[in-house]
C-alpha cells in the first residue's frame, strides 16, 4: 500500500522491514472512509433514475468504491435523490439516525435542495432536506446528470480528506449538528 504523505526521514529510515509503513492516522482513516462510501438507496423521485444511471455501467460509481446498500445500518452516505414529502421526512430522519457515524448526506436535485418546483404550492413537500438532516453536499439540477452527481461525490471525498479524526475543532462531517425538526415529530 502506497499512500501520499510526507516522506519518512531520519534515524528510523530503513531500520525496519518492508512490512512496516509510517503515516498519520487522519490520512489513513480518511482515505479508508472516502474510498468505500456505501450510499443508502434513497431514491424518492425522478432524480433516482439519474442516480441509478450513475450506478450503472456507463458512469459506474463502483470506481469510487460505492456500493448501494439497502440498510441504513451499513451505509455511510445518504443520497437524498428526489422530492421529500412531509410524510417521508419523518421516515428520512429516522433512517438517518439509524446510520452509524461517520455519516454523510448528499442532497441531489432541486426538490431536495430547496423544494424545487414545489416551493410555493407544494402543501406536502419539505422545503429542503436540510430542514431535517444536516447536508454536506448539494448537487443542483432538475434532475442533475450522473456527471453532476459524481462531481458531488468527489467534492464530498475532498471534504472527507480534510476531516480531523482525533482533534476536532468544530463539529465533524456527518454529525447531528444542524437538524431542526422537532423531536416529537419522529414517532
Amino acid at each position: 500500500m502506497i499512500l501520499p504523505g510526507p516522506p519518512v526521514t531520519g534515524p528510523i529510515q530503513g531500520k525496519f522491514g518492508d512490512g512496516l509503513i509510517f503515516t498519520n492516522v487522519d490520512l489513513v482513516l480518511n482515505w479508508a472512509r472516502k474510498s468505500s462510501l456505501w450510499p443508502m438507496t434513497f431514491g424518492l423521485a425522478c432524480c433516482a433514475i439519474e442516480m441509478m444511471a450513475a450506478g450503472g455501467t456507463r458512469f459506474d460509481w463502483d470506481r469510487f468504491g460505492m456500493i448501494p446498500r439497502g440498510t441504513p445500518r451499513q451505509s455511510d452516505l445518504m443520497i437524498v435523490a428526489g422530492t421529500v414529502t412531509l410524510k417521508m421526512a419523518t421516515r428520512l430522519k429516522r433512517l438517518y439516525e439509524q446510520m452509524a457515524e461517520p455519516k454523510y448526506v448528499l442532497s441531489m436535485g432541486s426538490c431536495a435542495n430547496n423544494g424545487g418546483p414545489y416551493w410555493r404550492h407544494g402543501y406536502h413537500v419539505l422545503k429542503g432536506v436540510d430542514e431535517v438532516v444536516p447536508v454536506d453536499v448539494y448537487v443542483p439540477g432538475c434532475p442533475p446528470r450522473p456527471e453532476a452527481l459524481l462531481y458531488g461525490v468527489m467534492k464530498l471525498q475532498e471534504m472527507i480528506m480534510e476531516d480531523r479524526v482525533l482533534r476536532r475543532r468544530q463539529p465533524s462531517l456527518g454529525s447531528l449538528a444542524g437538524a431542526q425538526m422537532a423531536p416529537e415529530a419522529v414517532k
Binding site: 423544494g115 416551493w119 410555493r120 422545503k127
Partner: protein, 192 residues
C-alpha cells in the same frame, strides 16, 4: 350503446333520480341524485345491455364560488364487454358532502373514495375503511379544496417557503424550476 341510449335506459329505470344529461360534452354525463348513486351503480353494472364492469376513475371537483357552494363527485365508467363509456356525476353541498359508497359494486372504489375523502373531504357513507390514503394520518384538513391555506408548521417542519430561502435566493441560488421560479416571501407575488 350510444350515450343517449344509456341515458334513456337510466331514465326509464330511475326517473326523477336522473336530474340532467349533457350529450355534447367530450365525455357525455348524467347528473344523479346523491341518494340514488349506489342503486344506479349496481344497476349499470348488473344490467346486461349496459354492463359497466369497470370504474375507470372516481374523482371530486370543488366549486366554492357556485351558489350554493358544492362538491362534485364524478364516476367514469367503462364496459369491457360493450366497449362504451359513460360518466355519472353527483353534486353535494360543500359544507356537508355525504355520498353513499359504491364500493359494493366496484371494489376499486375503496381506494378511490379514500383518496377523494383524503384530498377533498367527501364522506362516503357505508365505506368499509374510510381513512386517509395519501397524506399522513395526523394531517389536518383537505388540501385540494380551493380555499386551502398552507399551515405554518407540520410536526415541526415548515410548510410555507422558509426564511432561509430568501437569503439563498439573494446569494444567487436558483430556487424553483422553469415557470415556478422562486419569489422571496417578503415581496408580494404580483410584483414578480
Amino acid at each position: 350503446m350510444t350515450p343517449q341510449e344509456i341515458h334513456d335506459a337510466l331514465k326509464a329505470r330511475f326517473g326523477e333520480a336522473i336530474l340532467s344529461f349533457d350529450e355534447k360534452a367530450l365525455d357525455p354525463w348524467a347528473l344523479v341524485k346523491p341518494e340514488a348513486i349506489a342503486e344506479v351503480a349496481a344497476f349499470v353494472k348488473a344490467e346486461p345491455a349496459l354492463g359497466f364492469d369497470n370504474l375507470m376513475c372516481l374523482s371530486a371537483v370543488d366549486w366554492p364560488k357556485e351558489t350554493p357552494p358544492r362538491l362534485d363527485v364524478v364516476y367514469h365508467l367503462y364496459s369491457y364487454k360493450h366497449d362504451h363509456t359513460f360518466v355519472l356525476k353527483v353534486q353535494v353541498p360543500r359544507d356537508n358532502p355525504r355520498v353513499p359508497t359504491v364500493e359494493g359494486t366496484w371494489g376499486v372504489a375503496n381506494w378511490h373514495e379514500r383518496e377523494a375523502f383524503d384530498l377533498y373531504g367527501v364522506v362516503f357513507d357505508g365505506h368499509s375503511d374510510l381513512r386517509r390514503i395519501l397524506l399522513p394520518d395526523d394531517w389536518q384538513g383537505h388540501p385540494l379544496r380551493k380555499d386551502w391555506e398552507d399551515p405554518e408548521l407540520y410536526n415541526g417542519m415548515r410548510v410555507k417557503p422558509t426564511p432561509q430561502m430568501a437569503e439563498r435566493y439573494a446569494a444567487g441560488e436558483k430556487i424553483g424550476v422553469g415557470p415556478f421560479d422562486f419569489t422571496p416571501p417578503n415581496l408580494p407575488l404580483e410584483q414578480s
